[in-house]
Amino acid sequence: MKTNAKKIIYRYSSLILLFLFILIASIFAENFFTARNLTNVVRQSCVLGLLTVGMSFVLICGHMDLSIGSIMTFTGLIAISFGTRMPAGAAIACALLAGILCGAVNGLIITLTHANSGESLMITFGTQLLFSAVSLLYTGGFSLSGSESDFYNALGTGSIGKWLPVPVLIYIIFAVLLWVLESKTSFGRQMHMIGFNPVCSHLSGVRTGLVKMVCYCISGFCAAAGAIILTSRTLGATPTAGVGYEMDAIVAAVLGGISLSGGLGSIAKAFVGVITLSVLSNAMNLFGFQSFDQSIVKGCVLIAAIAFDVWNRKQTV
């Protein structure tokens, strides 16, 4: 019985953390548990959520993608600037394609050079510099003002009925589709295998290069989807819009319980991690914390969560 309880705590530790935060926030901030605020929490988590879901694919393979922030910047600029010359739908398609292409560049380099986990970190840092240089050159360092298409602007700001924002709907649709891909298909299983043991999975006939490549493409695609929502919500694209998002996505994934060494994790966990981070920053805003203090609390929570996870694993195994 006791070991059972322990197992449950271990299994659902990130969910427990989330509920703890919601509990604390609801007790101490009177306007936290209102429909309006909760919608806000979810709405704010969309962009980071899409990025984290994409990043999870790469993390599960045992790799890392530091370039998603600058892919997001680049594709946001594409979506906005193409939007002035063509219908919004076509501009969005171009931006998503650009995201996939950026991801394919990452995937191709990493597959061709047979880079290991650490090397993929450095290579995607290189592509981060590359993509952000391309973004800066593309606009000459200037920002672009938002789209004039109502359809485009509705993607980030609109809502269906009273309580279902469009970005949340998009996020949920993508998350569910990718969750199915990750947990219900043979592709997803191969991905986990590669993260667990790349040599073994190669020897047992998994086309490791192809799978990694697709994972990086998904990560780039999600970054582009995040960029469209972000540029639609903020009514403009800047060549530095995505700076720092890659670290936030890693933090969210880790909070949700995805292991950085690969093989362990799921899209559901990424989802929980993003909501946890979002609830945390919303609660701190309601408490009136300054951004300095928020940064300190975020660091402490991250370390405490991981320390607990490591301690927990030692207890159960």
Partner: protein, 311 residues
């Protein structure tokens, strides 16, 4: 001929650096002047100093992503405490703060056994937050005229910054190659379990790796603040990845157990030489970012492929 080939394959990065220097010497008449060489060395000194500590960390098989925050924090402490305690004690306090940061990192990695990547992302949030808090987000200028001279003055035409960097590199080289401490760090990076089973106190060494890394970041923070006569919480924002990039490009493997401070310095110098060369040629800074990215991809990609071919 085979000897030449062997040297070229073993010292790829050194050969690359030399080729770069020769090429630039031909392209630009200003490149090989004394002033410009000193300039390159000054540009590489802050990251060079941090690379000393980072080399310990990476050889030991760990990352330290918090060096940027540590750097900003110690620069601020050195300037903010000066009116109360005087300049030298303020600098000592700054170094002590940096060492304390390292101790926190080391404790979390060695005792709680959390991956150093996550620990140092977490602590970099925390210490950047503290740096922003104590400075209220503003850049703070030093009121002591003596402080700014340290980062800008020269002795016999050589800036103090460069002298300090060279001294630290020599000390690091000595510690890594000629002491038991250094050898044990290689062992730990090579194989933690073997190191532990052969009686090396891994906890102590893991902790000291992070203390050393943070300590050199502290020195770099003070000198950077002194060079600019100003400290600000955002000064170290790109430092961690830039330093790691330099160290790794030099040929210190991220897996651990391999590398030397000489190699790390070659990596750091390659970056400074390229930045300097592109500046001399008048290349727009946006292109420079892109070229740095491309270079990183090519060098790391080549190394990854070479490792794959070997195995």
């Amino acid at each position: 001929m085979t000897k030449v080939k062997k040297i070229v394959t073993e010292q790829k990065t050194l050969v690359f650096l030399l080729l770069l220097v020769i090429l630039m010497g031909i392209i630009s008449p200003f490149f090989l002047t004394g002033d410009n060489i000193v300039n390159v060395l000054v540009q590489s000194s802050i990251y060079g100093i941090m690379a000393c500590g980072m080399t310990f960390a990476i050889i030991g098989g760990d990352f330290d992503l918090s060096v940027g925050s540590t750097m900003a924090l110690s620069g601020l402490v050195a300037i903010l405490c000066e009116p109360y305690v005087g300049q030298v004690p303020a600098m000592l306090l700054a170094l002590l703060t940096a060492a304390a940061v390292g101790l926190v990192n080391g404790f979390l990695v060695a005792k709680c056994r959390i991956s150093s990547f996550i620990v140092t992302i977490g602590t970099s949030y925390i210490f950047k937050g503290i740096a922003l808090k104590i400075s209220n987000g503003d850049p703070i200028a030093s009121s002591n005229p003596w402080f700014g001279r340290m980062g800008n003055d020269k002795i016999l035409g050589i800036p103090y910054l460069v002298i300090i960097m060279v001294l630290l590199v020599l000390i690091t080289h000595y510690v890594l190659t000629a002491t038991r401490f250094g050898r044990n760090i290689y062992t730990i990076g090579g194989n933690m379990e073997v190191a532990h089973n052969s009686g090396i106190r891994t906890g102590f060494y893991k902790t000291s790796i992070f203390v050393l890394s943070a300590f050199t970041a502290g020195i770099a923070g003070i000198l950077n603040a002194s060079k600019l006569n100003t400290a600000s919480a955002v000064q170290g924002d790109n430092a961690a990845l830039s330093v790691i990039t330099g160290v790794v490009i030099g040929g210190t493997s991220l897996i651990g157990g391999v590398g030397s401070i000489g190699k790390s310095m070659i990596g750091i110098l390659i970056f400074s030489v390229i930045t300097n060369a592109l500046d001399l040629m008048g290349v727009f800074s946006y292109y420079q970012t892109g070229i740095r990215g491309l270079m990183l991809i090519v060098i790391i990609g080549m190394e990854a492929y070479a490792r794959y071919r070997e195995s």
